[in-house]
């Protein structure tokens, strides 16, 4: 009986397997388990893991913390809009605001140093996409996500928004400049 008809045997559970199926199931199961254990393995031995550290917050509270950081560590401003470029001390807590339609402020990091980067949204959902290094995370209003990052390449990285956030979505950019150590 074909697959669109009821099975020919009343008891089909006891039908013996063909060798081709048994062999393939064994191979596929092995591969599935390898892929599964690869994830905890990378948590132990890999260097790219999200800590999943996050807090509940409010846009006002988060903006206040960001403003305090901007007031203290701004080194220069850029563009006609005088966007602040902030150079926080290595190892410190750094705050980044996503809002319609900018990532604020611009940041300057030192290569090889570690920063606790806190990110939250002031309004809608945004996508933090750091290019060209290619790190992507989801940013929600009311939640503060913490990424502990160690830039290991110098130069200019652009933060793109890759979660649709309205008509100006494609203009929403930010920057992280990474300077060589010891400057």
């Amino acid at each position: 009986m074909s697959a669109i008809q009821p099975p020919a045997e009343i008891v089909w559970w006891k039908q013996p397997l063909d060798r081709v199926e048994g062999t393939w199931i064994a191979i596929a199961l092995t591969w599935s388990l390898i892929m599964f254990f690869m994830m905890p393995f990378w948590h132990i031995y890999g260097k790219q893991n999200l800590s999943n550290e996050a807090y509940r917050t409010t846009p006002q509270a988060f903006l206040a913390k960001t403003q305090a950081m901007v007031d203290e560590y701004t080194v220069r401003t850029e563009t006609a809009a005088n966007l602040p470029v902030v150079r926080p001390p290595p190892g410190s807590d750094v705050y980044l605001v996503g809002r319609l339609w900018q990532w604020w402020p611009l940041l300057e990091f030192e290569k090889g140093q570690t920063y606790r980067l806190h990110i939250s949204s002031m309004d809608w959902q945004h996508g933090f996409s750091l290019q060209p290094v290619n790190i992507n995370t989801q940013i929600l209003p009311g939640y503060e996500m913490v990424l502990t990052v160690t830039p290991d390449t110098s130069g200019e990285q652009t933060i793109i928004c890759n979660e649709f956030c309205g008509i100006g979505h494609h203009t929403m950019l930010g920057k992280i400049y990474v300077t060589e150590g010891g400057q």
Binding site: V11, W13, A54, Y55
Partner: protein, 53 residues
């Protein structure tokens, strides 16, 4: 439950086959598994996110 077909008395249907022949048991499994492991566990994780200081 005495209307079990005579067939059942002659051939014992294995338990696994009985399970796969029972659409409502499968429906129960197919709703409860993801509801527990994905939704309920996920909600518990979200509600226990600490408040920022």
């Amino acid at each position: 439950m005495n209307d079990q077909s005579s067939q059942d008395e002659i051939v014992r249907i294995p338990i696994m086959q009985r399970m796969l022949d029972n659409p409502f048991l499968l429906l129960f499994i197919g709703v409860v598994f993801p509801a527990v492991f994905y939704i309920i566990w996920g909600i518990m994780e979200i509600v226990t996110i600490p408040i920022a200081n």
